[in-house]
Assembly symmetry: C2
DNA sequence: TGCTCTAGTTACCTTATGGTGACCAAGTTT
DNA sequence: AAACTTGGTCACCATAAGGTAACTAGAGCA
């Protein structure tokens, strides 16, 4: 059996059809790819920072100006995190004053593709979701 | 100009090409679809719970057994959240003892599609990411 | 000398998130 | 009557996440 989403692997295992049997257990430890990847980009700033580098590299203060509301501390922290994950590279140019350029790596560009699918969906559906929230809140007031 | 990801809309605005001009600002307020949607499912349990309902509806304690490590409190909270977003429906059957069935809504099933893209990517690339982390940690020890 | 730039770091504080364990109600079984 | 079932709620606590503001380095410029 193949679901409407096609082949379906999670935790490195082909789980196509296993959900249907109600036997599938979803692990939530360090080896779980879902948490391992999604937890890192599910924070307040990572996705915005990654998308700010989609078309070309950019430097620290320029990113800071473009990602509205991010503090210096959080931009540093977010950039370190996405650099550690391998999504972004950091290049220091020994100019005066120092110039530090951040760019998506190949891996980062690969990640942008599924991420873009999610972001587009969010963009197309967020008014629907808002009215769902309102309806829920009215029903549970 | 169209990016390699095709048309690109964020915040309801066609931003294709705007990134390239370095003019694009990423808002992070209540009207930002990215945060509005991603922040809700970027928590510790939502994605796992949503995927546990992909193939058929399931009831509270069965989900609890299948989503490893989730506490009763967090399952309740997560289910209320995804219900409020409109991704999941909650049906009480007046049996004895009470049976409560959770199922993906049409909207929830729509969300699963881009989410599945992300989860698959995570599954295929998490070993790469792990070695990126190790390399980063070695370089910055 | 003092002020400017970029790209940070650090200390401190507040809020958000999530975990534990006790408790609850309605009804059925022993 | 006591215990067990499902599907929760509630109070309490610990930690994580994130914001603010001050401070730093290295070099150029007035």
């Amino acid at each position: 059996m193949v679901t409407k989403f096609g082949r379906f692997t999670v935790n490195g295992e082909d789980m196509t059809g296993k959900l249907a049997s109600q036997k599938r257990v979803f692990h939530n430890n360090d080896d779980c790819p879902i948490r391992n990847v999604v937890a890192q980009i599910g924070d307040r700033w990572s996705i915005l920072v990654l998308f700010s580098l989609v078309d070309e590299p950019d430097r620290f203060n320029s990113i800071k100006r473009r990602v509205e509301g991010i503090s210096q501390k959080m931009l540093t922290q977010t950039l370190r995190d996405v650099e550690r994950e391998g999504y972004v590279s950091r290049t220091v140019y020994p100019e005066v004053p120092a110039r530090v350029e951040y760019a998506l790596t190949d891996l980062g560009r690969e990640l942008i593709k599924p991420l873009y699918g999610l972001v587009s969906w969010a963009d197309q559906n967020h008014t629907t979701i808002k009215s769902c929230r309102d309806a829920y809140d009215r029903a549970n007031a």
